[in-house]
Symmetry: C2
Subunit: 129 residues, 2 copies
């Protein structure tokens, strides 16, 4: 059953799998026809093939996701997770502040992922914003 507790467990598994650079484990959390909008306001990726390509690249960069608050559920089939992405930009430490909103199907698979972050949520050490 797709409870709030189950949704949150999937979100924590998402973080863990990402931090293990394990794209396959991340992609396994998604339904076949799922969509990804990352960041919100850019073109949507749709379906397992595009999702696998997206996470194959994303997990190849050595970025690490640091949880900043407990995941939030809802009274429906959605939940959110907020984290800081630690990465490197042109040799400098950088981080991106992100909140993901995920919608789930009855089987507990992610059917829609929307990542909220703007240009001003991307901070490079020593850089101007």
């Amino acid at each position: 059953m797709n409870t709030s507790e189950n949704m949150k467990a999937r979100l924590l598994e998402y973080i863990e799998a990402f931090n293990a650079d394990d794209a396959q484990r991340v992609v396994a959390l998604f339904a076949d026809e799922a969509s990804i909008e990352d960041p919100v306001g850019t073109p949507v990726k749709q379906g397992k093939s595009e999702i696998a390509q997206f996470y194959g690249y994303a997990t190849s960069l050595g970025a690490r996701l640091e949880l900043v608050a407990p995941p939030r559920g809802s009274h429906g089939s959605s939940a959110t997770i907020s984290f800081r992405v630690h990465t490197v930009m042109e040799g400098q430490p950088a981080h991106i502040d992100v909140t993901d909103v995920m919608d789930f199907d009855a089987a507990g698979k992610i059917v829609r992922m929307r990542a909220y972050w703007g240009r001003d949520d991307y901070h490079v050490a020593g850089g101007a914003a």
Copy 2:
């Protein structure tokens, strides 16, 4: 212009106005035909009158919103804010962990608010979950 910076400023103003128990100041952030789904998965409130009623009640409870991370923007017209609501439930201190997703119009008014929190994000001191 509706920049990511402007959206975040409105979200911080939302928190500040709420914590001042100032329903009018909160409602002034919304467009006339705005909608509110709080929590996500429950019936939507629509229009200034329902929104005023909602915040009139919400700000009468003495609850306080504590920001837990910087607001996140997007590459579109949406932004998010995550906070902990400190309140009292049957004489006991309680808190609710919430993430709000807000969509803005070109004038910088909120047109849609969705509050993500589940029953298990509601914690009463000494209570069972």
